[in-house]
Symmetry: C2
Subunit: 637 residues, 2 copies
């Protein structure tokens, strides 16, 4: 029942020092060494300093016939403010497999958003003795992917508003002439991206001079209905004052103001495109077909209609390459795509997983992380990501903690800045046992995909053997292949050797008979209802008028055959964050539905979901500074 | 009179292909080779791919006693839509010095803004056979410095709005308790950055418990007057709809909405801090003392008062390292800081120049670029940048073209998309001669700093010998040491060998007796008037009431001893862009004055200056795409 005794290879201390202290106490290897051990050729990566490298997609081509490794997705129980340590477990598991069990292993995690890093949550490089290092580089800028998404998202927004402005202030002829100006020889030419719009309009001509006045007008005037616009601007900062804004209030904008808002960058459709695109050509097509709104005839208007799909791809060209880093125990990590599985898709990228599975080979393991609770992160992994990639997982690891399960069992609320209630710090087996309903449902949900489930119980200092055993028993009874107590936060990989063995065992049989939860060809409502009933245990779904109208519109536009990416609170199976445990029988309210046509999913908003976090009175940034003597960052958590 | 005959080392073609075609036709060297030739040790730079490297400031320490090279600043005549090729000349001159005249040389240029790259202007890596390569990497993201500025600027903006929100919705006591929460042991502690605020308030205590209720209130309540706020958000996109916005319109923001706006990132005070900071410690201090507005008692409120100075420094930690690249003829380039000398400071960074001057050594040359016309870019170089660095230039290179001078002589307007008037394409010596008044005044201005001036006449295909000779004659008569016809756009460094020789000659005498234009200890108005009269030839200065009020306020706050960074149109010596040539006798209107206390200058707004560019009906982005077969970018200009 207690943690298996394996001698840590790391110089672990008790009590466990702060994350940044641990991270800065271990000298990372030159990333070349990590790349070399992973089997990358020198021309297959670009160094970004000595601790990060961008990995080129060409490695996937070189290894296209290589047998794939085992594919393990790490998901969690429904999160609580107490934290279940999912990223930490993902990294600890890889440290165990790589540094103790002699398996070839690669961790695929998501790039942290800088918003929370300076806000409440802090960084997202793992914790304790299970971290990606240098944690400062992972949490800040990394290799610029999120910045590229901000730039691309906002170029599209600027292109959209300015196009409406120019259309309102110019005649059809002036507009056409400006879009297709004569060159020095007096000849007009369509830009390549314009041919896409012409094809969409059914105009089969390549010489601007041949268009009829009617065709010129249809081509040049996008005629976007302002109220139909779903494209918002983004910023990677927790700036609540940008949630709802009015733009275009300058006198030069001639009264063309408009209500809109900013979301956090990681929730941009472009982040989802990055996560789901399988190569540059696929990314180019996805970016070009992103829908920003519709015209007065109800036709969708795309990034390519605005002429900007190519430019967006150019901005995202380097971002498609995952970033290689390392754990504290020198196992390789690919950091790619972004978090926030509540308001976004929230999984690491397809290309990172594909590269990893080929690099680790038949006997190796790729451990990839799905955000938040398994009801959202894992569900999207299965039904959206695996559908786009063609890959199927060999095993699900579900992370739970005694403390979080106590809260699901009805434990008292946790308020930041006040001491933890004694229910969480002293033994209370009935409370844990009551909370296991949450874990059990996640296990049952995961098994609906036909995949074996291993439960990782992330041990905290106050947990007692009886409490841990209660969780283990509930998990195994619910159908988990195994349930293992882990102590990787305090011990590094040594604390997750048991978990590693369980994962190896779960993956040792024949490949599982993976199945999706739903057929994409079902109607939008049928798909939403399958997720609501089978994953969340809702009794039914209720659609607000806006949602009804959008479903009707997207069905008419032909987008009804896309999978579903629910935007739902991570704090409950239901839409109500206060409903802990395993609620059922509720009616799930769908407030609105949006289409991420480029990413390739429909995006129902369940209840009121915030797409831009705020800052508290005392944000993390108060403690963050440079030590000017050593040049080291202090206070990052 | 014709261009000196030197055989180009580059495989030049006629007519000159597009910039991107030329850039992609020359294989760059691995940046290690460039770094090695420049004398950098391997531990003194970090690779970012194989064509870029960030150079550490430690090289400056290693070479602190090294003799400095010659310091040459390239400035231009008053720009016109015809372009005078200042960046191209800067790069061509370095190619000449390095690849033909066997001088150790380093070019210091500014990182292009992505706004114009996708807007009207295109990129800013030079042109023709005088370019920095890979031009795509220079024009897009580079090593992320501008993205870091966006992140830092907007974190401060978010911190500001949210602090006002929390102050409005909390009692003094609640606010204090949230800012200094008790830890698990029940003990309160000030964050290090809070001690700065306490010191400023004259509260000499380090234990939160010892503060009186009055002191707690003064400490915790910044009491910012919303109307006094000068800090705006930024974005590196030409998004005119963000010029004037209302933020905070969500219901959760409880009616705390506010009118504000976004500027282009390169005009952020943080860009100026990056350009002017001499090391990390200096940057930390500058970022912390940036003023965002004032409290109801009229006291300035700073980034450190908001608790965010350290976090901003952490975000900017890597940005302080210049990025090493190369020209088409393999001479080294340091890219650092940003453009827009009209609305910003617009010079490359002090640290890049300092590193360069030590690396090239006594017989070498650092060629650094000052933005737009010499009335703004060079004036700021002399009075702001050299004052902060302690460096003094050995020579000014002034770039002129026959075509631009014809416009200054009264030539017809130039409209994009229509053929050029024949005045610009056929010989018209009287028109050029008339326009030389502009060049002459810039020469006279430059000589007021006690520095020799070399004029570079950037030759275009239609220029005739008689026209070129007219310019040369006017330049020499006005006191230029020399005036040289150059053809580096079509020939690379071979076309600027004559210019290179002239620069070497101008720098061969004793170091010039450099002098500033004004004493910083003069009053704000006196300094503005010296610049207006001596650089612009204004008859006087007129202050709008807002400007008067700000001058009074900043004088009271003790910021009156800062140098002046005029925000003025680049298209005329005057405030009126249509006044070409050498206008005089006008009254310069000062609309407003802002303080960039962290950067260290006051910022008078002359007439109406736009701090956010817009996009035309057909922006550059229409032509920009990826060639999916080769992976190369097309259409970037």
């Amino acid at each position: 029942m207690t943690t298996e005794e394996v001698k840590p290879l790391l110089p672990v201390k008790t009590p466990v020092p702060s994350d940044i202290e641990i991270a800065q106490s271990i000298e990372p290897q030159h990333i070349k060494v990590i790349a070399d051990a992973l089997g990358l050729l020198p021309e297959e990566y670009d160094l970004y300093g000595i601790h990060k490298a961008k990995v080129k997609l060409s490695v996937r081509d070189r290894l296209k016939d290589a047998p794939l490794g085992k594919y393990v997705v790490v998901a969690g129980i429904t999160p609580t403010p107490l934290g279940e340590g999912k990223s930490t477990t993902t990294i600890g598991l890889c440290q165990a497999l790589g540094a103790y069990l002699e398996k070839k292993v690669l961790t695929c995690v998501r790039q942290p958003s800088q918003g929370p890093t300076f806000g409440i949550k802090g960084g997202a490089a793992g914790g304790g003795y299970s971290q990606v290092i240098p944690m400062e580089e992972m949490n800040l800028h990394l290799t610029g992917d999120i910045h590229a998404i901000t730039a691309a998202n906002n170029l599209l927004a600027a292109a959209l508003d300015v196009r409406m402005f120019h259309e309102r202030t110019q005649t059809d002829e002036a507009l056409f002439n400006r879009l297709c100006p004569a060159d020095k020889q007096g000849k007009r030419k369509f830009a390549a991206v314009m041919l896409r719009r012409l094809a969409k309009l059914g105009i089969n001509k390549t010489d601007p001079e041949e268009l009829t006045p009617e065709e010129r007008k249809d081509f040049a005037r996008l005629d976007i209905v302002p109220e139909s616009i779903t494209w918002r601007r983004v910023i990677d900062t927790n700036d609540r004052f940008l949630r709802s804004v009015t733009v275009g209030q300058g006198t030069e904008e001639r009264g063309q103001s408009r209500s809109t808002g900013f979301d956090i960058t990681v929730s941009s459709e472009i982040m989802a495109v990055l996560a789901l695109a399988t190569d540059l050509a696929d990314m180019r097509e996805r970016l070009g077909r992103m829908v920003v709104g519709n015209d007065s005839k109800g036709r969708p208007v795309t990034a390519d209609d605005l002429g900007v799909g190519g430019a967006l791809t150019v901005l995202m060209k380097d971002a498609i390459e995952p970033t290689l880093m390392q754990t504290l125990e020198k196992t390789p990590v690919l950091v790619h795509a972004g978090p926030f599985a509540n308001i976004a898709h929230g999984n690491s990228s397809i290309v990172a997983d594909q590269i990893g599975l080929r690099l680790v080979g038949e006997d190796g393991f790729v451990i990839t992380e799905a955000g938040f609770g398994a009801d959202i992160g894992m569900e999207k992994f299965m039904n959206i990501k695996c559908r786009a990639s063609g890959l199927a997982p060999d095993c699900v690891v579900l992370v739970a903690t005694v403390r979080a399960l106590k809260m699901h069992g009805g434990g008292p609320p946790v308020v930041a800045g006040t001491p933890l209630h004694h229910d969480y710090t002293t033994e209370n087996v009935p409370l844990v046992t009551a909370g296991c309903c949450n874990l059990v449902r996640h296990i049952e949900n995961a098994r609906k995909y036909g995949v074996p489930v291993v439960v990782a119980v992330n041990r905290f200092a106050n947990d007692t053997d009886a409490e841990l055993e209660a969780v283990r028993k509930a998990a195994v009874e619910a159908g988990a292949t195994d349930a293992v107590i882990c102590a990787h936060h305090g011990l590094g990989g040594a604390g997750a050797v048991g978990l590693g063995r369980a994962v190896v065992a779960a993956c040792s049989g024949p490949r599982p008979d993976f199945k999706f939860l739903y057929d994409v060809n079902l109607s939008i409502k049928e798909k939403i209802e399958i997720i609501a009933k089978q994953m969340y245990h809702a009794a039914g779904v209720e659609y607000k008028p806006e949602a009804e109208a959008q479903i009707e519109k997207y069905t008419r536009m032909g987008f009804d055959n896309l999978p579903i990416c629910m935007a739902k609170t991570q704090y409950s199976f239901s839409h109500d964050a206060s409903q802990k445990g395993a609620p059922s029988g509720f009616i799930l309210p769908i407030r609105d539905v949006r289409a991420s046509v480029g990413a390739g999913f429909l995006f129902p908003l369940v209840g009121s979901m915030m797409t831009m976090p705020g800052l508290p009175t005392r944000p993390c940034f108060y403690d963050i500074d440079l030590d000017l003597l050593t040049g080291k960052i202090v206070g990052l958590s």
